[in-house]
Symmetry: C2
Subunit: 313 residues, 2 copies
Amino acid sequence: MRAHLDCIACLIRQTLSSARFVTDDEQIHEQVVRKILRQASCMDMDRSIPATAREIHRFIRELVGQSDPYRQAKEWSNNLILKRYPELERLIAKSTDPLETAVRLAIAGNVIDFGAYSSVETVDVEKAIDSCLTSDLDKTQLEYFRNSVSEATDILYLADNAGEIVFDRLLIEQLGPEKVTLAVKGGPILNDATVEDARAAGLVDMVEVIDTGDDAPGTILDTSSTAFQCYFMAADLIIAKGQGNYETLSDANKNIFFILKAKCPVIAQHLDCEVGQMILTRSDAFTDAADPLGQDEEVDSGVGSIASDKRPS
Amino acid sequence: MRAHLDCIACLIRQTLSSARFVTDDEQIHEQVVRKILRQASCMDMDRSIPATAREIHRFIRELVGQSDPYRQAKEWSNNLILKRYPELERLIAKSTDPLETAVRLAIAGNVIDFGAYSSVETVDVEKAIDSCLTSDLDKTQLEYFRNSVSEATDILYLADNAGEIVFDRLLIEQLGPEKVTLAVKGGPILNDATVEDARAAGLVDMVEVIDTGDDAPGTILDTSSTAFQCYFMAADLIIAKGQGNYETLSDANKNIFFILKAKCPVIAQHLDCEVGQMILTRSDAFTDAADPLGQDEEVDSGVGSIASDKRPS
């Protein structure tokens, strides 16, 4: 999706918040804000916001002289979720629909976002886990997803953030790790997961892990590595986590399922949903997706839920 | 007060909102946003935000070819409050402390702000009137204000917005119109009151009305007319309404009382209050204001209220 005028004020707010996260130096905060203002004043509105965010975060890292200023925050969030892993694994195993529960938890993980939020606390993650199990989830899309997963032989899973990647591991277990390739970012950007986080999450021993060859907070095919582009083109199902991947891939004509929490009004409007809603949705731009269930009748689109008596205590 | 880095994202959001208010032309929205981004990228942080806002609103008016795009909104809000005028006048007359009630209503009027808010509805004004009568108001400052008013012989009242100016008339009646000069903006800017609004509010026949000679959404002395500066320097009490006047005059060494609703976190932090709080406060920068009550003991700073049984039904 192209940049929206409303995104600009938000990008500036987020950029200032990131600059404050990585340094207390107010001169650097001002330098960063002036840089993003200059950059935004002449930005190509046909580019996605993550393309502009990539440039400004390179500048921030250069100014503070740190190649990975979110490293500590990423380790904190990986460890936070790893501690919960056995419990979450049991929750999925005991649920009536393990794939649905794993999708719900993968969406809960999307709350660990130091781009959209200025800080993430343990309590935010706990709340996200609790609410993801009962919030609305589009059942029609879930059935399309289930069908796509069972038909797929080559799934490319585009990770989003550290911490969240541990939740992704739970979903990958349900997809069948043998047919999954996991793609992380090619370099540090915000708290997005890189290969270190895939390793910390125990995913390197479970699936093939590649990187995008790029440090955008999303997946920009034009600036991704040729190797990544090959994986992308070859995959028969792509799972794209988070807003950044939605912003950069919503127009791609591939069989992509986006899994995210809609965190801002512009994305929510684009997805025709409310801010805060849990989203599992197939790309509108995928033209070969007609009748993916092989049937014409409409699938029940009622609200998904997990019976509380089926949840492990 | 100088500009704050947090104000910039807010200024851009407000600018886009204003551009949308005055035209549906999306090309103009984009031109305006690019202009404010360029301008903000090299802004002098020692200047107040209203100085930058003045430039961008001149540009918006030029682009849409309208000298006063908020004229209709201003007339709507003047008429809205004029209809309530007799009732509000009775409310003040019957209250136990008419000056306090008039101050409270003057703060309620500060909700009619098309700069801080993208729209203002009748219901917002009704709510503001209701809540202003019972919300906290600093009693110490009220006593300082009462004392200053009784001692003053030459009060300069700096108006803020149209509609709000009708509430200001209620307060001016309590101050003693014979010692008040009312200053409105020298030209259209947002929904700020100009001489047309002073006339609509019935103030032209009640007090001397001057203008700032400037179209900033605040009072910038350096760019105000020499005539206005003379009135400003000669006054022994200045009453400054709204955030714009606070942002531009908080450092002025004059006996200024600011009357406003704190609408944003930066102003609230500067005033050491909560967002949404009603503010009546003497300028910190006024060095001749020591012990204005002529007593050393502290005045009760409890919450101000108007006994409900004293209110007219």
